[in-house]
Subunit: 279 residues, 2 copies
Protein backbone atom coordinates (compact mmCIF):
# COMPACT_ATOMS: atom_id res chain seq x y z
CA UNK A 1 0.00 0.00 0.00
CA UNK A 2 1.34 3.41 -1.00
CA UNK A 3 1.10 6.35 1.40
CA UNK A 4 1.99 9.93 0.51
CA UNK A 5 3.85 11.60 3.37
CA UNK A 6 4.34 15.35 3.81
CA UNK A 7 6.96 16.94 6.05
CA UNK A 8 6.20 20.57 6.94
CA UNK A 9 9.47 22.36 7.65
CA UNK A 10 8.53 25.66 9.32
CA UNK A 11 9.72 28.34 11.76
CA UNK A 12 7.44 28.52 14.80
CA UNK A 13 7.42 31.70 16.87
CA UNK A 14 8.19 31.21 20.52
CA UNK A 15 5.18 31.53 22.82
CA UNK A 16 2.80 32.37 19.91
CA UNK A 17 0.67 29.27 20.14
CA UNK A 18 -2.41 30.59 18.35
CA UNK A 19 -0.38 31.92 15.41
CA UNK A 20 1.64 28.71 15.22
CA UNK A 21 -1.48 26.54 15.26
CA UNK A 22 -3.07 28.63 12.50
CA UNK A 23 0.06 28.25 10.39
CA UNK A 24 0.06 24.50 10.97
CA UNK A 25 -3.60 24.26 9.93
CA UNK A 26 -2.88 26.23 6.74
CA UNK A 27 -0.05 23.86 5.87
CA UNK A 28 -2.18 20.86 6.76
CA UNK A 29 -4.77 21.97 4.20
CA UNK A 30 -2.07 22.56 1.61
CA UNK A 31 -0.49 19.12 2.15
CA UNK A 32 -3.86 17.37 2.13
CA UNK A 33 -4.73 19.10 -1.14
CA UNK A 34 -1.46 17.71 -2.55
CA UNK A 35 -2.61 14.20 -1.68
CA UNK A 36 -0.74 13.61 1.59
CA UNK A 37 -2.31 11.10 3.99
CA UNK A 38 0.26 11.69 6.77
CA UNK A 39 1.46 15.22 7.55
CA UNK A 40 4.33 15.68 9.99
CA UNK A 41 5.27 18.94 11.77
CA UNK A 42 8.41 19.82 13.81
CA UNK A 43 9.01 19.31 17.51
CA UNK A 44 7.36 22.05 19.62
CA UNK A 45 5.81 23.55 16.48
CA UNK A 46 2.91 24.97 18.54
CA UNK A 47 5.05 26.53 21.28
CA UNK A 48 8.66 27.14 20.27
CA UNK A 49 11.59 25.55 22.08
CA UNK A 50 14.08 27.99 23.64
CA UNK A 51 12.24 28.86 26.85
CA UNK A 52 14.35 30.24 29.69
CA UNK A 53 12.57 28.51 32.56
CA UNK A 54 9.92 25.98 33.43
CA UNK A 55 7.73 28.85 34.63
CA UNK A 56 7.89 30.54 31.25
CA UNK A 57 7.01 27.31 29.44
CA UNK A 58 4.15 26.26 31.74
CA UNK A 59 1.44 28.56 30.28
CA UNK A 60 2.18 27.11 26.83
CA UNK A 61 1.47 23.56 27.99
CA UNK A 62 -1.88 21.87 27.67
CA UNK A 63 -3.43 18.47 28.25
CA UNK A 64 -3.83 15.91 25.45
CA UNK A 65 -6.60 15.91 24.34
CA UNK A 66 -6.92 19.67 24.84
CA UNK A 67 -7.99 22.76 22.90
CA UNK A 68 -5.18 22.80 20.33
CA UNK A 69 -5.11 19.07 19.64
CA UNK A 70 -8.90 18.81 19.46
CA UNK A 71 -8.98 21.75 17.03
CA UNK A 72 -6.34 20.14 14.84
CA UNK A 73 -8.03 16.74 15.10
CA UNK A 74 -11.22 18.32 13.78
CA UNK A 75 -9.28 19.46 10.69
CA UNK A 76 -7.85 15.95 10.27
CA UNK A 77 -11.36 14.54 10.43
CA UNK A 78 -12.57 16.84 7.66
CA UNK A 79 -9.46 16.34 5.50
CA UNK A 80 -9.26 12.55 6.14
CA UNK A 81 -5.54 12.84 6.99
CA UNK A 82 -3.23 11.86 9.82
CA UNK A 83 -0.99 14.48 11.42
CA UNK A 84 1.79 14.62 14.00
CA UNK A 85 2.28 17.89 15.89
CA UNK A 86 4.84 18.86 18.54
CA UNK A 87 3.79 20.66 21.72
CA UNK A 88 4.34 20.82 25.47
CA UNK A 89 1.97 18.47 27.28
CA UNK A 90 0.71 19.07 30.82
CA UNK A 91 -0.37 16.13 32.97
CA UNK A 92 -1.08 17.23 36.52
CA UNK A 93 2.05 19.04 37.69
CA UNK A 94 4.26 17.41 35.06
CA UNK A 95 5.32 18.89 31.73
CA UNK A 96 6.47 16.82 28.76
CA UNK A 97 7.95 17.47 25.33
CA UNK A 98 5.23 15.67 23.38
CA UNK A 99 4.18 14.71 19.87
CA UNK A 100 0.50 14.02 19.31
CA UNK A 101 -0.86 11.71 16.63
CA UNK A 102 -4.15 12.90 15.16
CA UNK A 103 -6.32 11.35 12.49
CA UNK A 104 -9.79 11.08 11.01
CA UNK A 105 -10.72 9.21 14.21
CA UNK A 106 -9.60 12.13 16.43
CA UNK A 107 -6.76 12.38 18.96
CA UNK A 108 -5.12 8.96 18.73
CA UNK A 109 -2.08 9.04 20.99
CA UNK A 110 0.59 11.16 22.63
CA UNK A 111 4.30 10.35 22.75
CA UNK A 112 6.44 11.97 25.45
CA UNK A 113 10.13 12.45 24.56
CA UNK A 114 12.11 9.75 26.35
CA UNK A 115 15.66 11.08 25.82
CA UNK A 116 16.18 14.68 26.93
CA UNK A 117 19.35 16.63 26.13
CA UNK A 118 20.27 19.51 28.41
CA UNK A 119 19.09 22.10 25.87
CA UNK A 120 16.26 24.60 25.42
CA UNK A 121 12.98 23.77 27.13
CA UNK A 122 14.09 20.15 27.59
CA UNK A 123 16.26 21.39 30.49
CA UNK A 124 13.10 22.10 32.46
CA UNK A 125 10.75 19.26 31.43
CA UNK A 126 9.99 15.83 32.83
CA UNK A 127 11.44 12.82 31.06
CA UNK A 128 8.93 10.81 29.04
CA UNK A 129 7.29 8.11 31.15
CA UNK A 130 5.40 6.13 28.50
CA UNK A 131 6.69 3.19 26.46
CA UNK A 132 7.56 3.54 22.79
CA UNK A 133 4.49 2.34 20.94
CA UNK A 134 3.26 1.45 17.46
CA UNK A 135 -0.11 2.82 16.38
CA UNK A 136 -2.11 0.89 13.81
CA UNK A 137 -3.73 3.39 11.42
CA UNK A 138 -5.03 3.45 7.87
CA UNK A 139 -1.80 5.25 6.93
CA UNK A 140 0.31 2.37 8.28
CA UNK A 141 1.76 1.23 11.59
CA UNK A 142 3.25 4.41 12.98
CA UNK A 143 5.91 4.89 15.66
CA UNK A 144 6.84 8.24 17.22
CA UNK A 145 10.21 9.55 18.38
CA UNK A 146 11.34 13.14 19.03
CA UNK A 147 14.70 14.72 18.08
CA UNK A 148 17.43 13.42 20.45
CA UNK A 149 15.72 10.00 20.55
CA UNK A 150 17.18 9.39 17.07
CA UNK A 151 20.70 9.42 18.51
CA UNK A 152 19.85 6.24 20.47
CA UNK A 153 19.46 3.23 18.17
CA UNK A 154 17.20 1.53 20.70
CA UNK A 155 14.41 4.11 20.14
CA UNK A 156 13.67 3.03 16.58
CA UNK A 157 14.64 -0.59 17.20
CA UNK A 158 11.93 -1.36 19.74
CA UNK A 159 9.28 0.07 17.41
CA UNK A 160 10.61 -1.85 14.39
CA UNK A 161 10.42 -5.03 16.47
CA UNK A 162 6.85 -4.08 17.37
CA UNK A 163 5.92 -3.81 13.69
CA UNK A 164 6.35 -0.14 12.77
CA UNK A 165 6.19 0.66 9.04
CA UNK A 166 7.02 4.36 9.45
CA UNK A 167 8.95 6.08 12.22
CA UNK A 168 8.11 9.75 12.65
CA UNK A 169 10.62 12.17 14.19
CA UNK A 170 9.54 15.75 14.83
CA UNK A 171 12.81 17.51 15.61
CA UNK A 172 14.56 20.80 16.44
CA UNK A 173 18.15 20.13 15.34
CA UNK A 174 20.36 22.98 16.53
CA UNK A 175 23.51 24.09 14.73
CA UNK A 176 26.24 21.49 15.23
CA UNK A 177 23.94 18.48 14.81
CA UNK A 178 24.39 18.17 11.02
CA UNK A 179 25.65 14.61 11.47
CA UNK A 180 22.12 13.46 12.33
CA UNK A 181 20.64 14.39 8.91
CA UNK A 182 23.98 13.59 7.23
CA UNK A 183 23.96 9.92 8.17
CA UNK A 184 22.05 8.90 11.32
CA UNK A 185 18.52 9.12 9.90
CA UNK A 186 19.42 7.00 6.88
CA UNK A 187 21.02 4.42 9.17
CA UNK A 188 17.88 4.16 11.34
CA UNK A 189 15.81 3.37 8.24
CA UNK A 190 18.40 0.96 6.83
CA UNK A 191 19.08 -1.05 9.98
CA UNK A 192 15.37 -1.51 10.74
CA UNK A 193 14.01 -1.58 7.19
CA UNK A 194 11.42 1.05 8.10
CA UNK A 195 10.43 4.28 6.40
CA UNK A 196 11.62 7.29 8.39
CA UNK A 197 10.27 10.86 8.38
CA UNK A 198 12.34 13.50 10.20
CA UNK A 199 10.83 16.99 10.19
CA UNK A 200 12.89 19.88 11.50
CA UNK A 201 12.25 23.56 12.06
CA UNK A 202 14.25 26.43 10.55
CA UNK A 203 15.12 29.94 11.72
CA UNK A 204 16.66 31.34 14.88
CA UNK A 205 15.18 31.56 18.37
CA UNK A 206 16.88 33.47 21.20
CA UNK A 207 20.35 32.96 19.74
CA UNK A 208 19.94 29.33 18.70
CA UNK A 209 19.87 28.54 14.99
CA UNK A 210 18.16 25.46 13.59
CA UNK A 211 19.42 23.57 10.54
CA UNK A 212 16.34 22.43 8.63
CA UNK A 213 17.16 19.52 6.30
CA UNK A 214 13.94 17.65 7.03
CA UNK A 215 14.04 14.34 5.21
CA UNK A 216 11.99 11.34 4.21
CA UNK A 217 14.02 8.13 3.86
CA UNK A 218 12.71 4.86 2.49
CA UNK A 219 13.01 1.45 4.10
CA UNK A 220 16.19 0.74 2.14
CA UNK A 221 17.94 3.73 3.72
CA UNK A 222 17.76 5.97 0.64
CA UNK A 223 16.70 9.60 0.85
CA UNK A 224 13.44 10.23 -1.05
CA UNK A 225 13.06 13.94 -0.23
CA UNK A 226 15.16 16.47 1.67
CA UNK A 227 14.48 20.12 2.50
CA UNK A 228 17.08 22.87 2.47
CA UNK A 229 18.73 24.31 5.61
CA UNK A 230 17.02 27.72 5.72
CA UNK A 231 13.53 28.05 4.28
CA UNK A 232 10.05 26.95 5.23
CA UNK A 233 8.94 24.30 2.76
CA UNK A 234 6.89 21.13 2.48
CA UNK A 235 8.58 17.95 1.26
CA UNK A 236 6.63 14.98 -0.09
CA UNK A 237 7.32 11.33 -0.78
CA UNK A 238 5.29 8.22 -1.54
CA UNK A 239 6.28 5.13 0.43
CA UNK A 240 5.18 1.53 0.02
CA UNK A 241 4.18 0.06 3.37
CA UNK A 242 4.62 -3.52 2.20
CA UNK A 243 8.30 -2.79 1.64
CA UNK A 244 8.78 -2.19 5.39
CA UNK A 245 6.93 -5.41 6.23
CA UNK A 246 9.29 -7.64 4.24
CA UNK A 247 12.53 -7.69 6.22
CA UNK A 248 13.92 -10.44 4.01
CA UNK A 249 16.13 -9.36 1.09
CA UNK A 250 17.05 -11.76 -1.71
CA UNK A 251 19.95 -10.30 -3.68
CA UNK A 252 20.85 -13.53 -5.53
CA UNK A 253 18.55 -16.49 -4.77
CA UNK A 254 20.44 -19.25 -2.96
CA UNK A 255 23.64 -17.22 -2.89
CA UNK A 256 22.99 -13.90 -1.15
CA UNK A 257 19.99 -13.51 1.14
CA UNK A 258 19.49 -11.88 4.50
CA UNK A 259 16.82 -10.81 6.94
CA UNK A 260 17.58 -7.92 9.27
CA UNK A 261 15.21 -9.10 11.99
CA UNK A 262 15.48 -12.88 11.66
CA UNK A 263 19.28 -12.66 11.65
CA UNK A 264 19.35 -10.83 15.01
CA UNK A 265 20.91 -12.72 17.96
CA UNK A 266 19.39 -11.19 21.08
CA UNK A 267 21.21 -13.57 23.45
CA UNK A 268 24.38 -11.66 22.59
CA UNK A 269 22.96 -8.17 23.22
CA UNK A 270 23.41 -8.00 26.97
CA UNK A 271 26.27 -5.75 28.10
CA UNK A 272 29.36 -7.80 28.79
CA UNK A 273 32.64 -7.09 30.48
CA UNK A 274 34.56 -10.36 30.50
CA UNK A 275 36.57 -10.93 27.34
CA UNK A 276 37.61 -14.39 26.19
CA UNK A 277 41.33 -14.26 26.82
CA UNK A 278 43.39 -17.02 25.28
CA UNK A 279 46.44 -16.16 27.36
CA UNK B 1 46.64 8.85 24.43
CA UNK B 2 47.12 8.92 20.65
CA UNK B 3 47.21 5.66 18.67
CA UNK B 4 48.07 5.41 14.98
CA UNK B 5 45.79 2.94 13.23
CA UNK B 6 46.44 1.35 9.83
CA UNK B 7 43.78 -0.31 7.68
CA UNK B 8 45.21 -2.66 5.06
CA UNK B 9 42.79 -2.85 2.14
CA UNK B 10 43.89 -5.82 0.04
CA UNK B 11 42.70 -8.52 -2.38
CA UNK B 12 43.25 -11.99 -0.91
CA UNK B 13 43.38 -14.95 -3.28
CA UNK B 14 40.90 -17.68 -2.50
CA UNK B 15 42.45 -20.81 -0.96
CA UNK B 16 46.01 -19.37 -1.15
CA UNK B 17 46.63 -19.17 2.57
CA UNK B 18 50.42 -19.11 2.50
CA UNK B 19 50.53 -16.38 -0.15
CA UNK B 20 47.88 -14.35 1.67
CA UNK B 21 49.72 -14.64 4.99
CA UNK B 22 53.00 -13.55 3.37
CA UNK B 23 51.26 -10.53 1.87
CA UNK B 24 49.74 -9.65 5.24
CA UNK B 25 53.14 -9.89 6.92
CA UNK B 26 54.68 -7.61 4.28
CA UNK B 27 51.94 -5.02 4.87
CA UNK B 28 52.28 -5.42 8.62
CA UNK B 29 55.96 -4.48 8.36
CA UNK B 30 55.13 -1.54 6.10
CA UNK B 31 52.44 -0.21 8.46
CA UNK B 32 54.64 -0.69 11.53
CA UNK B 33 57.44 1.22 9.80
CA UNK B 34 54.93 4.05 9.24
CA UNK B 35 54.29 4.21 12.97
CA UNK B 36 51.05 2.22 13.25
CA UNK B 37 50.39 0.54 16.60
CA UNK B 38 47.21 -1.23 15.45
CA UNK B 39 47.04 -2.81 11.98
CA UNK B 40 43.71 -4.14 10.73
CA UNK B 41 43.22 -6.56 7.80
CA UNK B 42 40.00 -7.60 5.99
CA UNK B 43 37.62 -10.43 6.86
CA UNK B 44 38.92 -13.81 5.64
CA UNK B 45 42.15 -12.16 4.46
CA UNK B 46 44.06 -15.43 4.96
CA UNK B 47 41.58 -17.67 3.15
CA UNK B 48 39.27 -15.80 0.75
CA UNK B 49 35.49 -15.82 1.15
CA UNK B 50 33.55 -17.24 -1.82
CA UNK B 51 33.88 -20.94 -1.11
CA UNK B 52 31.30 -23.22 -2.73
CA UNK B 53 30.86 -25.67 0.13
CA UNK B 54 31.80 -26.39 3.70
CA UNK B 55 34.02 -29.22 2.45
CA UNK B 56 35.99 -26.84 0.26
CA UNK B 57 36.47 -24.38 3.13
CA UNK B 58 37.41 -26.94 5.78
CA UNK B 59 41.09 -27.44 4.75
CA UNK B 60 41.57 -23.65 5.01
CA UNK B 61 40.44 -23.60 8.64
CA UNK B 62 42.79 -23.81 11.59
CA UNK B 63 42.66 -23.60 15.36
CA UNK B 64 43.41 -20.37 17.22
CA UNK B 65 46.19 -20.33 18.29
CA UNK B 66 47.47 -22.24 15.26
CA UNK B 67 50.29 -22.06 12.70
CA UNK B 68 49.18 -18.88 10.89
CA UNK B 69 48.18 -16.91 13.96
CA UNK B 70 51.29 -17.92 15.90
CA UNK B 71 53.47 -16.92 12.95
CA UNK B 72 51.76 -13.55 12.68
CA UNK B 73 51.89 -13.08 16.47
CA UNK B 74 55.65 -13.60 16.32
CA UNK B 75 55.87 -10.69 13.83
CA UNK B 76 53.69 -8.55 16.15
CA UNK B 77 56.03 -9.36 19.02
CA UNK B 78 59.06 -8.20 17.04
CA UNK B 79 57.35 -5.11 15.63
CA UNK B 80 55.60 -4.19 18.93
CA UNK B 81 52.26 -3.79 17.16
CA UNK B 82 48.72 -5.12 17.49
CA UNK B 83 47.03 -6.71 14.48
CA UNK B 84 43.60 -8.08 13.59
CA UNK B 85 43.43 -10.75 10.88
CA UNK B 86 40.42 -12.54 9.37
CA UNK B 87 40.43 -16.32 8.90
CA UNK B 88 38.31 -19.45 9.22
CA UNK B 89 38.64 -20.95 12.71
CA UNK B 90 38.27 -24.66 13.43
CA UNK B 91 37.19 -25.80 16.88
CA UNK B 92 36.51 -29.53 16.94
CA UNK B 93 34.01 -30.16 14.15
CA UNK B 94 32.84 -26.54 14.05
CA UNK B 95 34.00 -23.85 11.64
CA UNK B 96 33.72 -20.11 12.35
CA UNK B 97 34.30 -16.89 10.45
CA UNK B 98 36.82 -15.43 12.89
CA UNK B 99 38.97 -12.40 13.53
CA UNK B 100 42.03 -12.89 15.69
CA UNK B 101 43.60 -10.17 17.82
CA UNK B 102 47.38 -10.45 18.01
CA UNK B 103 49.88 -8.28 19.85
CA UNK B 104 53.31 -8.07 21.40
CA UNK B 105 51.99 -10.46 24.06
CA UNK B 106 51.03 -13.08 21.43
CA UNK B 107 47.62 -14.41 20.38
CA UNK B 108 45.24 -12.41 22.57
CA UNK B 109 41.71 -13.39 21.52
CA UNK B 110 39.46 -14.69 18.79
CA UNK B 111 36.09 -13.25 17.81
CA UNK B 112 33.62 -15.47 15.94
CA UNK B 113 31.17 -13.64 13.65
CA UNK B 114 27.81 -13.54 15.43
CA UNK B 115 25.58 -12.37 12.55
CA UNK B 116 25.85 -14.50 9.39
CA UNK B 117 24.25 -13.45 6.10
CA UNK B 118 23.42 -16.19 3.62
CA UNK B 119 26.42 -15.32 1.43
CA UNK B 120 29.81 -16.80 0.48
CA UNK B 121 31.43 -19.08 3.01
CA UNK B 122 29.09 -17.78 5.73
CA UNK B 123 26.39 -20.02 4.22
CA UNK B 124 28.34 -23.05 5.44
CA UNK B 125 29.78 -21.90 8.76
CA UNK B 126 28.62 -22.11 12.36
CA UNK B 127 27.23 -18.98 13.98
CA UNK B 128 29.57 -17.32 16.48
CA UNK B 129 29.04 -18.71 19.98
CA UNK B 130 31.14 -16.32 22.08
CA UNK B 131 30.04 -13.03 23.63
CA UNK B 132 31.11 -9.69 22.23
CA UNK B 133 34.11 -8.68 24.34
CA UNK B 134 36.40 -5.75 25.00
CA UNK B 135 40.12 -6.44 25.15
CA UNK B 136 42.31 -4.17 27.25
CA UNK B 137 45.57 -3.56 25.37
CA UNK B 138 48.30 -0.94 25.23
CA UNK B 139 46.65 0.31 22.02
CA UNK B 140 43.35 0.91 23.81
CA UNK B 141 40.26 -1.07 24.76
CA UNK B 142 39.46 -2.94 21.58
CA UNK B 143 36.20 -4.55 20.45
CA UNK B 144 35.84 -6.82 17.41
CA UNK B 145 32.95 -7.19 14.95
CA UNK B 146 32.94 -8.69 11.45
CA UNK B 147 31.13 -7.32 8.34
CA UNK B 148 27.36 -7.99 8.68
CA UNK B 149 27.58 -7.39 12.46
CA UNK B 150 27.78 -3.66 11.65
CA UNK B 151 24.21 -3.74 10.29
CA UNK B 152 22.97 -4.55 13.80
CA UNK B 153 23.34 -1.59 16.16
CA UNK B 154 23.48 -3.91 19.16
CA UNK B 155 26.88 -5.31 18.08
CA UNK B 156 28.76 -2.07 18.68
CA UNK B 157 26.48 -0.94 21.50
CA UNK B 158 27.28 -3.77 23.89
CA UNK B 159 31.00 -3.17 23.42
CA UNK B 160 30.68 0.59 23.91
CA UNK B 161 28.80 -0.09 27.14
CA UNK B 162 31.64 -2.42 28.13
CA UNK B 163 34.19 0.36 27.63
CA UNK B 164 35.48 -0.05 24.07
CA UNK B 165 37.60 2.83 22.73
CA UNK B 166 37.97 1.41 19.22
CA UNK B 167 35.68 -0.99 17.38
CA UNK B 168 37.40 -2.99 14.66
CA UNK B 169 35.44 -4.37 11.69
CA UNK B 170 37.23 -6.62 9.21
CA UNK B 171 34.76 -6.85 6.33
CA UNK B 172 34.04 -8.19 2.83
CA UNK B 173 31.37 -5.78 1.56
CA UNK B 174 29.96 -7.12 -1.71
CA UNK B 175 28.57 -4.93 -4.45
CA UNK B 176 25.23 -3.48 -3.37
CA UNK B 177 26.30 -2.79 0.23
CA UNK B 178 27.56 0.77 -0.42
CA UNK B 179 25.14 2.12 2.17
CA UNK B 180 27.27 0.62 4.94
CA UNK B 181 30.37 2.74 4.17
CA UNK B 182 28.12 5.61 3.00
CA UNK B 183 26.47 6.12 6.38
CA UNK B 184 26.25 3.14 8.74
CA UNK B 185 29.90 3.10 9.89
CA UNK B 186 29.82 6.82 10.75
CA UNK B 187 26.60 6.31 12.69
CA UNK B 188 28.10 3.48 14.77
CA UNK B 189 30.96 5.77 15.82
CA UNK B 190 28.67 8.74 16.45
CA UNK B 191 25.99 6.97 18.48
CA UNK B 192 28.53 5.24 20.73
CA UNK B 193 31.26 7.90 20.73
CA UNK B 194 33.85 5.28 19.81
CA UNK B 195 36.53 5.23 17.14
CA UNK B 196 35.65 2.79 14.37
CA UNK B 197 37.95 1.03 11.89
CA UNK B 198 36.29 -0.83 9.00
CA UNK B 199 38.72 -2.62 6.65
CA UNK B 200 37.37 -4.11 3.46
CA UNK B 201 38.87 -6.19 0.66
CA UNK B 202 38.90 -5.25 -3.03
CA UNK B 203 38.80 -7.27 -6.26
CA UNK B 204 36.54 -10.02 -7.57
CA UNK B 205 36.25 -13.62 -6.41
CA UNK B 206 34.19 -16.21 -8.32
CA UNK B 207 31.86 -13.58 -9.76
CA UNK B 208 31.44 -11.49 -6.60
CA UNK B 209 32.93 -8.00 -6.59
CA UNK B 210 33.96 -6.22 -3.40
CA UNK B 211 33.69 -2.49 -2.93
CA UNK B 212 36.71 -1.42 -0.88
CA UNK B 213 36.14 1.95 0.81
CA UNK B 214 37.82 0.92 4.05
CA UNK B 215 37.47 3.75 6.53
CA UNK B 216 38.62 5.05 9.88
CA UNK B 217 36.03 7.20 11.67
CA UNK B 218 36.65 9.17 14.84
CA UNK B 219 34.53 9.11 17.99
CA UNK B 220 32.56 12.13 16.76
CA UNK B 221 31.41 10.26 13.65
CA UNK B 222 33.71 12.06 11.22
CA UNK B 223 35.72 10.17 8.59
CA UNK B 224 39.48 10.49 9.18
CA UNK B 225 40.64 8.30 6.28
CA UNK B 226 38.89 6.41 3.49
CA UNK B 227 40.29 4.13 0.80
CA UNK B 228 39.08 4.00 -2.79
CA UNK B 229 36.78 1.31 -4.19
CA UNK B 230 39.26 -0.62 -6.36
CA UNK B 231 42.90 -0.66 -5.31
CA UNK B 232 44.95 -2.24 -2.58
CA UNK B 233 46.12 0.51 -0.23
CA UNK B 234 46.89 1.22 3.40
CA UNK B 235 44.99 4.01 5.16
CA UNK B 236 46.23 5.62 8.36
CA UNK B 237 44.76 7.82 11.08
CA UNK B 238 45.73 8.93 14.57
CA UNK B 239 42.98 8.68 17.16
CA UNK B 240 42.87 10.00 20.71
CA UNK B 241 41.65 7.29 23.08
CA UNK B 242 40.64 9.78 25.78
CA UNK B 243 38.10 11.23 23.34
CA UNK B 244 36.19 7.92 23.32
CA UNK B 245 36.26 7.76 27.12
CA UNK B 246 34.48 11.09 27.61
CA UNK B 247 30.88 10.49 26.53
CA UNK B 248 29.83 13.88 27.87
CA UNK B 249 29.70 16.75 25.35
CA UNK B 250 29.44 20.36 26.48
CA UNK B 251 28.44 22.50 23.50
CA UNK B 252 27.46 25.60 25.53
CA UNK B 253 28.01 25.28 29.30
CA UNK B 254 24.71 25.35 31.18
CA UNK B 255 22.73 25.60 27.95
CA UNK B 256 23.57 22.65 25.71
CA UNK B 257 25.12 19.53 27.20
CA UNK B 258 24.54 15.85 26.65
CA UNK B 259 25.97 12.44 27.42
CA UNK B 260 25.25 9.61 25.01
CA UNK B 261 25.56 6.89 27.63
CA UNK B 262 24.23 8.65 30.75
CA UNK B 263 21.16 9.85 28.78
CA UNK B 264 20.18 6.30 27.80
CA UNK B 265 16.92 4.95 29.29
CA UNK B 266 17.23 1.16 29.25
CA UNK B 267 13.86 0.60 30.93
CA UNK B 268 12.29 1.70 27.65
CA UNK B 269 14.33 -0.59 25.39
CA UNK B 270 12.30 -3.77 25.76
CA UNK B 271 10.18 -4.63 22.71
CA UNK B 272 6.63 -3.43 23.18
CA UNK B 273 3.41 -4.10 21.40
CA UNK B 274 0.72 -2.27 23.35
CA UNK B 275 0.33 1.35 22.29
CA UNK B 276 -1.13 3.99 24.58
CA UNK B 277 -4.47 4.64 22.88
CA UNK B 278 -6.38 7.67 24.03
CA UNK B 279 -9.59 6.56 22.35
Amino acid sequence: MKVRIAGVQMAPEIAQKRANLDKCLDRLHEAAAAGARLVVFPECCLTGYCFSSREEARPMAETIPGPATEGAAEACRKLRVYAVLGLIERDGGRLYNAAVLLGPEGVIASYRKVHLPYLGVDRFLNKGNLPFAVHHTRAGNLGLNICYDASFPESARVMALAGADIIILPTNWPEGRQRVPNFVINTRAFENKVHYVAVDRVGRERGTGFIGRSKIVDAGGDTLAEAGPVNEEIIYADVDLTRARTKRTVVIPGQFEFDLLRDRRPDFYRPLTTPRLLR
